[in-house]
C-alpha cells in the first residue's frame, strides 16, 4: 500500500489546481492523477515524498500548457539519423542466425538424423520434449522481432511462454554444458562444432530477448510482465519435472537395486516400480551396442556422468527380474531409439555381448524355426530340424536352451553346410567349448555346439547366421518310451535369443509300429504361444495325436 506524505499531497493538489484551475474533476486531470500513481507504482515507491513526486511531475513537462495539447511539445529533437531502438543490421542478422535459426535447424536435423540420440542422449524422446525444445527459438524470434506493441492479453501469454522457454533452455544447457568447451575447441581449431553450441545459443537468445523486451517496449514494464514471466518459469519447471523426474527416479532406483544391502535394494526396486521405468531397465539389460546412446535419455546421461549408476547388463538383468518377476529375455527386444521416431530394423540391432559365451543372451530378430518330429516305440527318437533366418545386415549367433524329454539325451547333431548335411562330433564339454570358441572368435565360421547346461537341458549355439542368410541344424534326441504310457514328450525351447514370426508353423510328424499309428499335423506358432509364453511342452499318445494336440 502506497502512502503519501502530507507535503506530497499538498504539492500534488497545488500542481493540479495550477494547471487545471477550477476544474480538478476534469477528465484530463483525472488521467494525470492516474498516470502519476502508475508511475510511482512502476518505480516501486511505497512512501511518496514531495521530492519523489516532483521528479515524476517534471517528466510530465508541467511548464507546458497541459490543457491545450497543440502547444505542448517540447523543444525540437535532434535530427534522428537512426532509430535508436533498432539494433544495427549486422547484430540483427547475427541474432537471427545464432538465437533462432541455428537452434531451429539443429532441432530439425536431430529430428531427422538423431545425431545426438546416437552419440550422447536422446533430447526429444517424446513429442512433449520436442514441443518444449522448439518453443525456445520460436519465442526468442517472437520477442526479438516484435515491433508493434503487445495488447495486454497476448502480452501475458508471451511473457509466460518466455518463462517456460527460459526454464527449458537452462535445463538443457545444464545437462550439456560439459561438451561446450570441446565444441568451442572444435570450432576454433577445426572449423566445426557449431551444432553442439545450439543449446547455449538458444539460452542466451531467450535471455537476451526477454531483457530487450523489458528495456525497449514500455508496456513490458507493466507489472503483469514479471508476474506472468515468473509463472512461465514455474510452468517450465513443472513440465520438465513431469517429463524427466520419473527417468531420474528410475535410474537412481536401478543403481540402488543392484546393491547387496536388502533395504537399499528394496527401495531401489520400489523406485523403479513407482517411476514406471521398467523399459529403461530392460534397455540396460542389453548393455552398450552400436546405437548405445539410443538407450539413454537425459537422465541416463546425467546420472551416468556423475558415476552413481554404473550398472552392468548382468546386474540390470537381475534387477529387471526382481522388479517385474519376468526374465528380461522373455520380453520383446526394446527399441533402442527414441519412442518418438519410427525406427528401421538397423536401429534395433544390438551388439551381442554373449557371442561364444556360456549363457543365453540377447534376443535377435528375424530367425525362423521349422520342426519335424520322428517318434518310435519304446525308445523314442525325435529329430528336430531348426532353421534360422537372419534378416539383419550383420552376422549373429543363434542360441537357445532346449528342455529335453525326461531322461532324454542328444544323440545326433547335424549341420547343413552348402545344403549338405554334416554330422557333428561328440566330445568332453571343455574340449568342444574351446574348439567352438576358437572357431567363432578367430575363424568366425560355421560350427554348431550343443552342450549340457543343466539337468535335462542343453544349450545350442550356432554361428554364424549370415546376414540375409539361413542356417539349418537338426538335433536327434533319444528318450525312453513305455508302452504302458504311450506318449511322447517333445523337446521345447526354454530360453532363446531369437524371435518367432507370427506366421511360423511347426510341422510335427510321428511314426510308430505295433499298435501305434502314424500321424502328421501342423500347428502355428500362434497356437503354440497361446498355450505358453515361450514354447510349450507338447504331449501326445501314439493313437490319438490330433485330439491331444
Amino acid at each position: 500500500m502506497t502512502t503519501w506524505t502530507p507535503a506530497a499531497e499538498s504539492f500534488f493538489r497545488d500542481f493540479l489546481s495550477s494547471h487545471f484551475g477550477a476544474r480538478p474533476a476534469d477528465e484530463v486531470a483525472q488521467d494525470i492523477r492516474c498516470h502519476v500513481h502508475e508511475e510511482l507504482a512502476q518505480r516501486g515507491v511505497d512512501r511518496v515524498t514531495r521530492i519523489e513526486l516532483q521528479r515524476v511531475v517534471e517528466e510530465l513537462h508541467p511548464d507546458q500548457n497541459m490543457v491545450e495539447a497543440e502547444s505542448a511539445f517540447v523543444k525540437a529533437p535532434p535530427i534522428p539519423t537512426e532509430d535508436p531502438s533498432k539494433p544495427p543490421k549486422t547484430r540483427t542478422v547475427a541474432a537471427a542466425i545464432f538465437y533462432v535459426i541455428l537452434p531451429l535447424v539443429v532441432l530439425v536435423l536431430e529430428g531427422i538424423f538423431h545425431w545426438c540420440a546416437m552419440v550422447f542422449f536422446d533430447p526429444m524422446p517424446t513429442l512433449a520434449h520436442a514441443a518444449l525444445l522448439f518453443l525456445v527459438p520460436i519465442v526468442s524470434g517472437c520477442l526479438l522481432w516484435k515491433r508493434t506493441p503487445w495488447i495486454p492479453r497476448s502480452f501475458n501469454t508471451i511473457a509466460c511462454l518466455s518463462g517456460v522457454a527460459l526454464a527449458v533452455s537452462v535445463y538443457y544447457v545444464a545437462i550439456t554444458f560439459w561438451w561446450i568447451p570441446f565444441a568451442i575447441l572444435g570450432l576454433v581449431y577445426f572449423g566445426f562444432g557449431l551444432v553442439p553450441l545450439a543449446p547455449p545459443f538458444a539460452m542466451i537468445g531467450i535471455s537476451r530477448a526477454r531483457t530487450l523486451m523489458w528495456k525497449k517496449i514500455p508496456s513490458a514494464r507493466e507489472i503483469p510482465w514479471k508476474t506472468w514471466s515468473r509463472r512461465g518459469i514455474y510452468v517450465g519447471i513443472a513440465a520438465l519435472s513431469i517429463l524427466e523426474l520419473p527417468s531420474y527416479v528410475g535410474r537412481i532406483g536401478l543403481s540402488m537395486a543392484k546393491s547387496e544391502n536388502v533395504s537399499i535394494r528394496e527401495r531401489g526396486l520400489n523406485s523403479i516400480r513407482i517411476a514406471g521405468t521398467e523399459d529403461d531397465v530392460l534397455r540396460s539389460c542389453y548393455g552398450p551396442g552400436r546405437a548405445w546412446a539410443g538407450n539413454q535419455d537425459a537422465a541416463g546421461m546425467v546420472i551416468g556422468a556423475i558415476g552413481c549408476a554404473e550398472v552392468s547388463p548382468e546386474q540390470a538383468q537381475k534387477v529387471y527380474f526382481l522388479a517385474t518377476g519376468t526374465p528380461y529375455n522373455e520380453i520383446e527386444h526394446p527399441q533402442v531409439h527414441s519412442r518418438l521416431y519410427q525406427r528401421d530394423q538397423w536401429d534395433t540391432v544390438t551388439f551381442d555381448p554373449d557371442q561364444g559365451g556360456d549363457r543365453v543372451g540377447s534376443r535377435l530378430r528375424g530367425l525362423f524355426m521349422d520342426t519335424h518330429v520322428d517318434a518310435s516305440a519304446r525308445l523314442s527318437y525325435t529329430e528336430w530340424t531348426v532353421e534360422f533366418e537372419n534378416l539383419s545386415p550383420d552376422m549373429y549367433e543363434a542360441r537357445c536352451q532346449v528342455q529335453l524329454p525326461p531322461e532324454g539325451v542328444v544323440s545326433r547333431v547335424t549341420l547343413w553346410i552348402n545344403d549338405e548335411p554334416e554330422e557333428a562330433a561328440f566330445g568332453p564339454n571343455n574340449k568342444v567349448k574351446s574348439a567352438y570358441k576358437s572357431v567363432v572368435m578367430v575363424e568366425r565360421r560355421d560350427p554348431v555346439l550343443v552342450t549340457v547346461s543343466g539337468p535335462g537341458r542343453v544349450l545350442v549355439q550356432c554361428f554364424p547366421v549370415l546376414p540375409k542368410g539361413q542356417m539349418k541344424i537338426r538335433l536327434g534326441i533319444t528318450a525312453p518310451w513305455s508302452p504302458d504310457e504311450p506318449k511322447v514328450i517333445l523337446p521345447r525351447v526354454v530360453e532363446r535369443n531369437f524371435g518367432f514370426p507370427s506366421t511360423l508353423k511347426h510341422h510335427v510328424w510321428s511314426q510308430g509300429d505295433g499298435h501305434d499309428q502314424g500321424s502328421q499335423f501342423t500347428f502355428t506358432n500362434r497356437e503354440l504361444l497361446d498355450k505358453s509364453p515361450i514354447t510349450p511342452v507338447q504331449e501326445f499318445g501314439g493313437n490319438d495325436l490330433s485330439e491331444q494336440i
Binding site: 500500500m1 502506497t2 477528465e27 484530463v28 483525472q30 488521467d31 494525470i32 492523477r33 492516474c34 498516470h35 500513481h37 502508475e38 508511475e39 507504482a41 517528466e59 510530465l60 513537462h61 508541467p62 507546458q64 497541459m66 490543457v67 491545450e68 495539447a69 497543440e70 505542448a72 511539445f73 517540447v74 523543444k75 525540437a76 529533437p77 534522428p80 532509430d83 535508436p84 531502438s85 508493434t148 506493441p149 503487445w150 495488447i151 495486454p152 492479453r153 525497449k216 517496449i217 514500455p218 508496456s219 514494464r221 507493466e222
Partner: protein
C-alpha cells in the same frame, strides 16, 4: 527564442501525433499509461507525457476512441482505450493519405550528402 526549424518540427509532430495514437490502438485495447509510454518512446516524436492525455480526451470526444475503467488494487481505476469503428475508418483514411503524401514529398527530397 524558437528557431524556424524548431517551430517547423513542432508543427510536423503535431500533425502526425493523432495518426500515431490511432495506429497504436490498431492492435486492440491498451492501458492508457502503457499507450502514453509507448508513444513517448517513439524516436523523433519527442512528445511530453502530460500532453497525451488532452489529445486522448479530445479523440474520445470526437468519437474516434472509446474508454473503459478497470479497478486497480493499488490506486485509481485504470483507463483502457480502444479504437471505435469510426476511429478505425478514419485511421485507414489518414494512413492512406499520409503514405501518399510521404511518397510524393520523397520525390522532391534530395539525399543529404
Amino acid at each position: 527564442m524558437a528557431t524556424f526549424y524548431d517551430n517547423w518540427t513542432i508543427q510536423v509532430r503535431k500533425g502526425i501525433l493523432e495518426l500515431c495514437i490511432l495506429n497504436a490502438l490498431e492492435e486492440g485495447e491498451c492501458y492508457g499509461y502503457a499507450l502514453v509510454k509507448q508513444l513517448v518512446a517513439i524516436p523523433g516524436l519527442q512528445v511530453a507525457e502530460g500532453t497525451m492525455y488532452p489529445l486522448l480526451s479530445r479523440l474520445k470526444l470526437q468519437g474516434l476512441v472509446a474508454t473503459r475503467l478497470e479497478e486497480s488494487p493499488g490506486g485509481p481505476a485504470r483507463k483502457y482505450y480502444k479504437l471505435t469503428r469510426t476511429g478505425n475508418k478514419e485511421r485507414g483514411r489518414m494512413n492512406a493519405y499520409y503514405r501518399g503524401l510521404s511518397e510524393a514529398v520523397d520525390t522532391l527530397l534530395t539525399p543529404v550528402s
